[in-house]
């Protein structure tokens, strides 16, 4: 696998690093992560089409771009990949409302099915798509050995609109997926949140898809405010700092759910994912050290062999972490970099939802995690 990376900031392109023997004409795949308003201004696809004529180009808006072991904003980062043996195929779906998410997911994985399909990398609109349903739809057609990862596009901390594109200028409502085929490709996954739970575990007593009305028999917002104490006054701005840990059953793996909005009138809260009645939830809070440690742990999870470092690591981290860690956000990227070392190319973005398989089982939608996908082609 040969890679070249560059970023656009301050009105011009900067070259970052290039593998020996990389040929722009032979690049098959380009991943572009950029700030939304910046993506809206330029003819980005045209630029990449000209630079990498043979490549499929993925474009995705972010809540922050990851390169140079740091989190950036107001920039665009591009990573062009020239696989040696691995084949790629692409698929795309566009939707206009939440209800179509499941069917869109189903059609994507159906069109990418193949005997030697190794993994699917998905980038999806982050505000029009129901991430949980999308992933259920993708999983519907897939056999267990195919892994799925990726993320939902971001829009800084604005939550206005998100853009995704495949071989076209990015627009709203797009879901794109790349299938990677071949037995020479090794794929690694890691996901870790590092948030602390606090307060007692409670069951969801009233909800409607991703709207949480009551848990533990009390109004969701009331219970939140009670536990946040003096920090309750920082809501809704601080909502991203206090996600919920949710598990479907007592022995299920917990997933983290971010608050998207709150309703002072009826005391309900909207979360970035399904909140089924009967599920178990815990309040969460950020401990900086543990958030940063979690990034390192996620990186370690991707390594099948500690001595064999991957060619490329794609980091999808949550916008909530970025808001929580503030100035120290770079430290989580640095922590991952320490694990991978100098020779692994790193790219990625801050997202509105991460897609990754848990340690066991099928892929799921996560919030508030550092989710890492690594790709390595055996030499």
């Amino acid at each position: 696998m040969k890679i070249t990376q560059s970023f656009f900031a301050g009105d011009r392109w900067h070259n970052l690093d290039t593998s020996e023997g990389f040929s722009a004409e032979q690049a098959q795949l380009v991943m572009v992560f950029g700030e939304r308003t910046l993506l809206e201004q330029g003819h980005w696809y045209a630029h990449f089409k000209e630079t990498y004529p043979a490549a499929s180009v993925l474009l995705c808006s972010t809540s922050g771009e990851i390169y140079q072991s740091a989190a950036h904003e107001g920039s665009v980062v591009a990573t062009a990949i020239q696989f040696e043996k691995t084949q790629i195929r692409k698929a795309q779906a566009s939707i206009s409302n939440y209800q179509q998410s499941f069917e869109a997911g189903k059609s994507l994985s159906a069109s990418l099915q193949g005997d030697d399909l190794k993994m699917i990398f998905v980038l999806s609109d982050g505000s029009k798509v129901n991430g949980s349903d999308l992933i259920k739809g993708i999983n519907e057609n897939l056999s267990a050995h195919v892994s799925v990862s990726g993320g939902l596009a971001g829009d800084a901390a604005r939550f206005e609109k998100t853009l995704v594109g495949l071989d076209a200028e990015p627009t709203e409502g797009q879901i794109v997926a790349i299938g990677l085929y071949g037995k020479d490709l090794e794929v690694g996954h890691g996901t870790m949140g590092g948030w602390d739970v606090f307060g007692p575990e409670r069951q969801i007593t009233k909800s409607s898809y991703n709207i949480l009305y009551e848990f533990g028999g009390k109004k969701a917002l009331d219970l939140y405010k009670e536990y946040l104490g003096k920090y309750a006054s920082e809501l809704p701005g601080a909502a991203l700092l206090f996600p919920l840990s949710m598990k479907i059953s007592q022995d299920a793996e917990p997933v983290v759910r971010t608050i998207l909005s709150i309703d002072e009138n009826d005391g309900s809260m909207v979360f970035a994912g399904e909140m089924p009645e009967g599920a178990y939830v815990n309040l969460m809070k950020a401990n900086f050290d543990r958030l940063i440690d979690a990034a390192a742990t996620a990186a370690e999870q991707t390594l099948l062999n500690p001595d064999k470092k991957p060619d490329l690591a794609i980091l999808v981290s949550c916008v909530g972490r970025r808001l929580a860690l503030g100035q120290r956000i770079d430290e989580e990227i640095e922590a991952a970099k320490e694990i991978f070392g100098e020779h692994t190319f790193m790219t990625g973005f801050y997202s509105y939802g991460e897609i990754s398989p848990l340690a066991t089982g099928k892929c799921d939608l996560h919030n508030q995690t550092m989710t890492i996908t690594t790709l390595t082609e055996s030499k």
Binding site: D196, K230, Y231, A286, N287, R328
Partner: protein
Amino acid sequence: MTPLVLDIGKLHPLLKRQIFKYLKNSDLDDIREVDFISAVNDSYLNYERDKELFDHSTQLNDREYAEINQQLKLEVTQRKQSFEKLVDAARTLEVPVGFTVPEFNENNLLGLVEFLKQQIIYQKSIEDQLIQAKDAAEEATRAKSEFLSIMSHEIRTPLNAIVGLVYLMKQEENTPVMVENLDTLQFAADNLYILINDLLDFSKIEAGKVELEYTDFNFKQLVHNIQKSYQPKADEKGYKVVLEADERVPDTLIGDSLRLSQILSNLVSNAIKFTETGAVTIVYKLLGVQQEMAQIEISILDTGIGIAPEHQQKIFELFTQASSVTTRKFGGTGLGLVITRRLLQLYKSDILLESTVGKGSRFYFNLELEISKTAAPMKEIALIDAESSPLEGVRLLMVEDFIINIKVASKFFARWKIDFEIAENGLLGVEKARNNQYDLILMDIQMPEMDGYAATQMIRQFDPNIPIIALTASATISDKTKSSEVGMNDYIPKPFNPNDLFTKIAKYAGRQL
């Protein structure tokens, strides 16, 4: 990365103190641009927030656990009290032979439960035995009432013929000896008829099968009719049945006129039976009206033999008369007064008695009857043997298998100038009804080939409107209910009262009387 500009005022207080303590004054200017300090400050603040949230949630947890603890304590107390109550209850249970009573304490809850379980099994077995006994008793009662129903039919059918034919024979020219014989025959037949009705009534009342009807009826007219109908009997003895009416009693009341006339007939016929000279007097008085209910006192006075005080309660007992001498002299079953009393009890009333031996008796009771808001029903018109019959030309089909019944009815129909046809069983009846035009059908119930219920249902399939009147010897309430269920319009028990038959034919044929 752009350097952050530090606001010293927003530094964590501890960090601020440490900076001023450990750094030289000259460094302070630089501090504003030091990312390092900013990162450290973020960490300090985060730890502070983390600690506060944790402390706060710990407090909340403590409070919640205290509440849960309190709740648990309450539950433990309740459990203890429940257990004690359970033990108290268990101790009151009768312990059957062969039961081991465990030691009752809180650590032996299972023992207590096992003991109670055995008790429940034991009680259940007793309950099963009781249910079996009850079923057996009900089965016996059912068999008894069925027997009575069948017997009554078997006896009434021939009796119907006797009563009817005697009636007709008395209309003919007869020799004086014949007249006397016929009188005796009629007396015997009537008595037998009354006895059968009494027995049937009594068995129905005993079986709880008698329910009062609540329909409009003319109270004054009813009493007047009773008086009139018993006058011939009193005439035989040479005295009058006197009626002392209270005009204030409302005309139309709501009640069971059939049962009420049964009560009055019983009492009046008794009075006549035991009175040789003087008079029998019926008196009714309005005691008052409360909430649309009329309170009426009714008395039957006689100047007969009277009843000794020691016998006054006995006469209301089953099959008991005042003395065996009475039985020999006056006859009767002793059922009449028992039935009268039971019927009055259905009206939540009771029969009372004042009597002096040799002077006479007064039987009296109170009735509470609702006052009807609708108009009085049509007057009953007794009419037989008119020169020009109002029933002339009525087309009637009689479905009846018993030849004597046919003969009796035929004579009446001929006398009333009715244009009638006979069908000998249900099947023939259906055929005739299908092929001919009739104004109404009289339908026997128990017949060979096809009974009256089945025949009625078949006729109703092609003619839903023609009046069908059941004419049967099985005079039970359930027959009456069933006859209306299959689509019959009315019901005349056999042996029929010619007057009643005449009135019903007139009513259903649409003839004015």
